[in-house]
């Protein structure tokens, strides 16, 4: 029963979840590109020069840093490789015994540990109740899912790229959450995501960007070259380079056109409202 550090949440969590947000706020955004394959990061909204912007909080260095999403690739290395268990609850991952990559909900030594938070000081102060996080589309060589472990380990799905888009979930304000990110093939995955919120002052904010992930031991930096349709709803902060290095790209299939998605993103909250069963 004796445990080792392998499954523990380490140093990063403390600064991520609990350090006064002012520490992070005082750090200027990084401009350089970075592949992150180990340590704690969080996806989350921030007001950047007043504009609601999805960023990536990077706790892998000495000081926490909010990075523009365009400058980051998260890599799931071979350390994240596991076999699908022989358990019908996990059939959505593939056939038992098949190899998949799972970035776990609980930190695993040597594997990047991405969560999502709504703890930026200004976000926590101004957002009314919750942030809507939607997945508008996924491109990649295989299937992507994000799930949580609920009672007794049964998976509670958040996102599944084999289901229709957009998909959405709520993040209560001032919370910090981790989940299990899974992929069933190597290569570059582009997650087209949006975060939308109603502010306490009654106005609404939304931002839509691409989160890049690279699965496997190959050249993760190649994922920077992968491009996605530029969303028109968000301020165009994408400094994505032209896809001139397409020979490095893995094959990409957009599972959904961007056009039909924009409207849905805007009215997502209304669409999701349903009667309590």
């Amino acid at each position: 029963m004796r445990r080792t550090a392998a499954v523990l949440l380490t140093t990063a969590f403390v600064s991520a979840g609990l350090a006064p947000a002012a520490v992070a706020d005082s750090v200027p955004p990084a401009t350089e590109r970075r592949v992150i394959a180990n340590g704690h990061v969080d996806l989350g909204p921030q007001f950047v020069n007043g504009a609601w912007t999805i960023q990536l909080r990077d706790d892998t260095g000495d000081l926490p840093l909010w990075r523009p999403l365009e400058n980051v690739v998260l890599q799931a290395t071979s350390k994240a490789r596991v076999a699908v268990p022989d358990d019908p609850s996990y059939a959505f991952l593939g056939t038992p015994g098949a190899q998949v990559w799972v970035i776990p909900q609980v930190q695993q030594a040597g594997v990047v540990w991405p969560g999502w938070n709504t703890q930026d000081a200004e976000v926590a102060k101004r957002v009314d109740r919750e942030v809507t996080w939607s997945l508008e589309g996924v491109s990649g060589p295989g299937k992507f899912t994000l799930f949580l472990n609920s009672d007794f380990g049964k998976p509670a799905p958040v996102f599944d790229s084999s289901k229709p888009f957009p998909q959405e979930t709520g993040i209560d304000v001032n919370t910090h959450v981790h989940g299990n990110w899974t992929f069933d093939a190597q290569g570059t995955y582009l997650l087209d995501i949006a975060m939308t919120a109603k502010l306490i002052d009654g106005t609404s904010v939304t931002d839509r960007r691409t989160l890049r992930l690279y699965v496997g031991q190959g050249d993760a930096a190649a994922a920077f070259a992968s491009t996605t349709p530029t969303p028109t709803t968000a301020p165009a902060a994408t400094d994505t380079p032209a896809a001139s290095t397409s020979e490095n790209n893995v094959s990409m299939t957009w599972l959904i056109g961007a056009a039909g998605v924009l409207v849905l993103a805007a009215v997502g909250l209304g669409v999701a409202r349903k009667r309590r069963a």
């Binding site: 029963m1 523990l8 609980v106 609920s150 349903k274 009667r275 069963a277």
Partner: protein
């Protein structure tokens, strides 16, 4: 329809402004249609003689399950203004009837959400009660530099003593469903019941208890700086858990007044700098920065809503036989709220009714600008009444001993009452009265009443059908059955003020005596 309205008014002789007329213009008054009687009363208080307000859901009806009639559609079509509460109070068919039939020039206001801009306090809807509990983890704080600790040091946290009526298992379920036990008293506590964390680490666990009652768990820390050197002893701390029982009736280890932790995020913590073992908790304000609470002053609440059945899965056999019930604080609490949905019963907090009233005032003025002075004056006078009412409810409930403030009700309608006036929602038959309770829900309710030894349970006058289960369980356990108004009036309470006064008086009458 005339007969129905007459019936409503028969019970309402004392209420000014109850009108038999359903059409606009037959009295020259503004014709306002609401979904519920409570809303109609608020509108009438604001509107006075200029307004005739009536509700679609009949007197004593349940708004959650009311099905609209063709006559309702006609009434809506004739209305000058309509007010609904929120989708999760009224069924979709009722909302649709209003949205589809309301005149395009008639304001159609959903009060619950719109009232937020008037200062209403809104609570997200809890979907999974079992997740609406304390989030409890383990943590190492401090650098331990004075003790020679480095990044490669590790801290051993051991469960060295447990007493209580049952067993405790603290375990982590990994990504693919495999449980990993940290502390397990089912085979006694030994050297194996420990875990090793690096400095500044933090982890979340499931905390399972096999029987209700009071448990004391002692955790002892030690520091391993590696290199074959002996472990340096750190301190230990004894934590008290109130499992299924009223936490305020439980003494903490030092025998003084307990800090009860029942929500938010807390870690049982070993501090490398001070050597102490304590709780690191955001108990004072959920979501705020965590602060230290000494182990000896703590009572950790593991409420009956944390009751779960052991799954029929051999990997979890260490928790007991499949189907047996345990209390468990879960390792992750995400998913307790339904995305985008709110608890619709805002008026159970009088401050929210004040927000409704101001929104109603401004809506009526927008439709009938000539009545501005009347609406403004009526509202000011009524807000004063509501301020008095709020004080009355607050001071009345404040007299109930802290260990008696448990609400067991027919449906989940009293979250705002609990939040505003310091009560606890201990359990209910079903979340929504339109649902039938499952066998498991009835068992859980029965356990809750038994474990907490509540003095009374509360039925709602308009939910006689749902009350039978609660009355039966209460009868079996010799518990008093009292009444609270939730979503509707009856013959005894014909106004919002009467209803809330009754609720305060009834709670005091049924729970107010010292145990």
């Amino acid at each position: 329809m005339k007969r129905l309205i007459a019936a409503i008014c028969a019970g309402a002789l004392a209420v000014a402004g109850c009108s038999v007329g359903t059409g606009a213009g037959d009295s020259g008054r503004l014709n306002v249609v609401t979904t519920t009687e409570i809303l109609a009363d608020l509108v009438q208080q604001v509107g006075g003689d200029r307004v005739s307000a009536s509700s679609l859901v009949p007197a004593g009806g349940d708004p959650h399950s009311y099905e609209p009639t063709p006559a309702d559609a006609k009434r809506v079509a004739k209305a000058d203004v309509t007010f609904t509460n929120h989708l999760l109070l009224e069924p979709q068919s009722l909302i649709k009837t209003i949205d589809a039939n309301a005149d395009k020039d008639a304001p159609n206001v959903s009060l619950a959400e719109a009232a937020e801009s008037y200062g209403a306090h809104v609570i997200p809807l809890v979907e999974n009660m079992g997740l609406d509990v304390l989030w409890l983890g383990l943590r190492v704080r401090g650098t331990g530099k004075a003790r020679g600790a480095t990044r490669t040091s590790s801290v051993r946290l051991a469960a060295t003593k447990l007493d209580g009526p049952g067993k405790l298992v603290a375990y982590l379920t990994e990504s693919l469903g495999r449980p990993d036990r940290y502390f397990d008293s089912t085979d006694g506590l030994g050297p194996g019941d420990s875990t090793t964390l690096p400095p500044a680490a933090h982890t979340h666990l499931n905390w399972a208890f096999t029987k209700p009652g009071v448990y004391h768990l002692t955790l002892t820390g030690s520091l391993d700086n590696g290199g074959g050197k002996p472990l340096q002893p750190l301190g230990s701390g004894t934590f008290t858990f109130a499992v299924g029982v009223e936490p305020h009736s439980v003494k903490p280890a030092d025998g003084g007044t307990a800090t009860v932790l029942g929500e938010g995020h807390t870690d049982l913590t070993v501090d490398l700098d001070t050597g102490q073992v304590y709780a690191y908790s955001d108990a004072k304000k959920v979501g705020a920065t965590q602060s230290q609470v000494p182990a000896s002053k703590l009572v950790i609440d593991v409420p009956n809503k944390a009751l779960v059945a052991v799954p029929d899965d051999p990997r979890f056999a260490f928790l007991g036989k499949p189907g047996s019930r345990i209390h468990q604080l879960p390792q992750a609490v995400l998913g307790k709220h339904v995305h985008g949905e709110i608890d619709p019963h805002l008026w159970q907090d009088v401050a929210n009714a004040k927000a409704y009233v101001q929104l109603i005032r401004d809506t009526l003025i927008s439709k009938d600008p000539d009545g501005k002075q009347t609406y403004t004056d009526n509202t000011a006078a009524y807000l004063n009444q509501l301020t008095d009412l709020d004080d009355y409810v607050r001071t009345t409930l404040a007299t109930i001993p802290p260990d008696r403030r448990q609400l067991v009700t027919t449906h989940d309608a009293f979250g705002y009452l609990a939040s505003a006036y310091g009560m606890t929602v201990a359990g209910f038959v079903v979340p929504n009265p339109a649902q039938e309770p499952s066998v498991e829900q009835v068992r859980k309710l029965s356990d809750t009443i038994r474990n907490l030894k509540v003095a009374a349970v509360f039925t709602e006058p308009n939910l006689a059908r749902r009350a039978s289960v609660l009355v039966q369980v209460a009868h079996d356990q010799g518990v008093q059955v009292c009444s609270l108004y939730g979503d509707a009036f009856d013959d005894h309470a014909r106004t919002y003020v009467e209803m809330m006064r009754h609720n305060a008086d009834e709670l005091k009458r049924c729970l107010g005596e010292t145990r």
